[in-house]
């Protein structure tokens, strides 16, 4: 049994050990508090490596090509941002680059490092810092939104020119599904439980509420 406070409504409650696939919901507001995972480290690690490969391919190969009246053009993911920059919308270009390339890439890189580091607990403290950054980047990683945006853009262009999807498009699609699988199998709680505490303590098997905040 472990005591936690619900992040959405602050209700104190105890969570029993969960069977794989089991879920603990907040008794008051229904927020998911914990999930039992079959293989909390190695399975997401394998998926993260696969997602990293898909991400590299998606960003280095042409997303799609276009041909109209005998002329041809092609673009990559970062090409979308680059063209925006050159057309004078620098801030929007930065936002597109951040949400389509930097945030997904950083998020994936941090997750990969964290998962490799926590395989042998206790993991060093900087792993916690990295996990915090990954958590921060997660909502800004918008590859699936970008894919839908590309679909709409393709439809808009289809009347003007012939559009051919490139390898990058399939890789980006694979990346969206693999990242989804990583997030479903990844157990933040299990990872935190394996990280060395900032006050030098080695994680206890069952953390309790008696710990005291440190004044700095």
């Amino acid at each position: 049994m472990e005591t936690v406070a619900c992040p959405d409504c602050d209700l104190l409650q105890q969570i029993p050990p969960l069977p794989p696939g089991g879920k603990a919901r907040c008794a008051r507001c229904g927020e998911t508090l914990a999930q039992g995972r079959v293989d909390p480290i190695d399975l997401p690690l394998a998926l993260t490596i696969a997602a990293a490969i898909a991400f590299i391919v998606a960003n280095t190969t042409p997303l799609m090509g276009l041909s109209a009246v005998g002329r041809e053009a092609s673009t990559t993911i970062s090409g979308g941002a680059l063209q925006m920059w050159q057309q004078g919308s620098q801030i929007t270009a930065l936002a597109v680059a951040f949400c389509a390339v930097i945030a997904p890439g950083g998020h994936l890189l941090f997750l990969l490092t964290v998962l490799i580091a926590v395989r042998r607990p206790p993991a060093p403290r900087w792993v916690g810092e990295m996990l915090r950054s990954a958590h921060f980047l997660e909502p800004w990683s918008m590859t699936e939104v970008m894919m839908l945006g590309i679909l709409v853009a393709l439809f808009k262009i289809a009347q003007l020119a012939t559009v051919l999807p490139g390898i990058g498009m399939y890789a980006a699609g694979a990346f969206v599904f693999l990242l989804g699988a990583v997030l479903v199998t990844f157990d933040v709680h299990e990872v935190w439980a394996r990280i060395e505490w900032i006050d030098g303590k080695v994680p206890a098997p069952t953390p309790d509420a008696s710990a005291t905040g440190i004044a700095r």
Binding site: G30, L63, S89, T92, W140, A153, W197, T212
Partner: protein, 214 residues
């Protein structure tokens, strides 16, 4: 701790780390200190949650107007120039026979940003008046806003890739319009607003709210 009136962590004098969810007994009521596990600063509730969220919601509401009024794409083809606003893009998709895509863009670009502003303002007013009518529904609305917000970025991506592909000078070219940056600002500001709002405020009792000064 009885089952009938289970206390919140704050009532029990405990604080939950926002980063790693470790439950901790803080150093003092006034300054809770740092999480012993991950080192993040501890806080009873997100700092100035209501003020920050209001500021972001108001800024986003102001930007929402130029985002919809100004063109997002300017197409130049064979000497003639045409500008499209977000609604213009929706109408274009609809008239060219793709109502599912028109609906997706309408929901993601017009309805979601507006809905987020209305819901966040409603939640803020409820918390400030100290009477949250339906805590369950309010929490559910908050989660929806937090989850769905990123999909509004759709139109920014559409514009970026149309601009990137249609560069067939001198026959035809597409340039981003002035509205894109305002629209992007609306999406980013409402996402930040959802992050600064603390849903626990919806559940706090009057005495708790006074104690945190939120």
């Amino acid at each position: 701790m009885t089952a009938a009136a289970a206390p919140s962590a704050a009532e029990a004098g405990l604080v939950s780390c926002r980063t790693c969810h470790q439950l901790t007994r803080p150093v003092s009521r006034a300054s809770p200190g740092y999480c012993p596990r991950c080192g993040a600063a501890l806080a009873w509730r997100r700092h100035h949650s209501i003020q920050y969220t209001w500021a972001l919601v108001i800024a986003a509401a102001i930007f929402y107007i130029p985002a919809n009024a100004l063109p997002v794409l300017t197409t130049t083809a064979l000497g003639s120039t045409e500008s499209d606003t977000i609604m213009g893009g929706v109408i274009f998709l609809y008239t060219s026979g793709s109502w599912p895509l028109a609906l997706i863009v309408l929901v993601a670009s017009v309805m979601i940003p507006l809905g987020k502003l209305v819901v966040l303002a409603y939640l803020l007013i409820q918390v400030q008046r100290g009477a949250v009518k339906n805590k369950h529904d309010s929490t559910r609305m908050y989660r929806l806003v937090e989850f769905i917000g990123r999909w509004s970025m759709l139109d920014v991506f559409v514009d970026a890739f149309v601009v990137a592909l249609v560069q067939l000078q001198p026959l035809m070219s597409v340039e981003p319009g002035a509205g894109v940056i305002f629209f992007m600002a609306v999406v980013v500001l409402t996402m930040l607003a959802a992050q600064t709002f603390d849903p626990r405020l919806l559940w706090d009792t009057a005495s708790e709210r006074q104690a945190f000064g939120a």
